[in-house]
Symmetry: C3
Subunit: 139 residues, 3 copies
């Protein structure tokens, strides 16, 4: 059995971390699937998905500092020189993080830890309307 739903998420800024756990859980509870997997997939090449403890220190500072070490906003990007934009670092960060996450479902619940939330991380430099595909597969 397969149920697919698109989440629509408005983002505001670079390195915004958005907790989408409740929205994913809602798709699962509506699906009548008790055991299986949910695939969470960001459509587009300047945002990604992962899990984190959703608390202000990590979400507003620490994760951003890590991404800045990997792909500093001020570095030289050929992407920016070619296209005359400012989001070369956004693409690099998104490709490193990856667009997809798979979470097992057991007895109707995702197997997340207590302090583990599913997040969309926006890397683009302007507000975006994001589509995140949630697909539940199982029995």
């Amino acid at each position: 059995m397969i149920k697919t739903k698109e989440l629509s998420i408005r983002t505001q800024k670079d390195c915004e971390v958005i907790n989408i756990t409740d929205q994913v859980a809602h798709v699962i509870s509506e699906s009548d699937i008790d055991n299986g997997i949910v695939t969470i997939f960001n459509v587009g090449s300047t945002a990604g998905v992962t899990t984190t403890e959703f608390e202000p220190g990590l979400v507003n500072h620490d994760l951003k500092a890590g991404f800045e070490r990997l792909a500093p906003q001020s570095a030289r990007y050929e992407h920016e020189e070619t296209w005359h934009d400012d989001n070369g670092h956004s693409h690099v960060r998104a490709s490193f993080l990856g667009p997809s996450l798979t979470v097992p479902i057991v007895r109707g619940q995702m197997t997340l830890g207590t302090w583990q939330q599913i997040v969309l991380i926006e890397f683009d430099t302007r507000p975006r309307d994001r589509t995140v595909v949630c697909q539940v597969m199982g029995e």
Copy 2:
């Protein structure tokens, strides 16, 4: 057909890399599933899963040095200031690596390379009792 099993893994220290390939293979062999996928998912926000060649140089030194460049233990973390703990770098590393891995199963075997093992990487600063969910889905 879906079979789920939880692996219980005792870890000892920060950046410990633990080979869980045989335990995952055992779950598959017990499942009677010949074709499909296995999802390996770390429960919690300070460890992650990936694949690597499991040899001492990479496992005891080189991977750790890479994580140290991304999120140095000695950097300033707001997570640590808020919660008065010492594992801000652990959270950042775990979010970058990701909690989940999906491996195809063909004729009862995972499609791993000869020098490619499935590993859990502990990032927390103290010993932990980890739960890794192994879910086999297929036919």
Copy 3:
């Protein structure tokens, strides 16, 4: 329903980014599966898969610069000292990026963005014959 196909890809050099989107789409179109997931998995421990906008600036320069920050080619690797080779950075980069990617399929199409392509990134220092497993599961 499950269909598996191996893609054979000849790579040329370190940090080569290869667009495999069309090959994955072809496997899906041949599978008669309309809804479900495709798992893309690199066999081996010195290459990985992700998505990116496949344009020359990112592909030939910017992604490579990011990987160089994470695991510089010139750093000291115990892997290289043990095995007398030169690909310690390749292993570290591949483990960080990860070997697997999962993309939802809806009405016969992957839910990729317009500027989002599936890529294999070679990290090894010599040409390789890569096997990428494409497994389609669904209905």
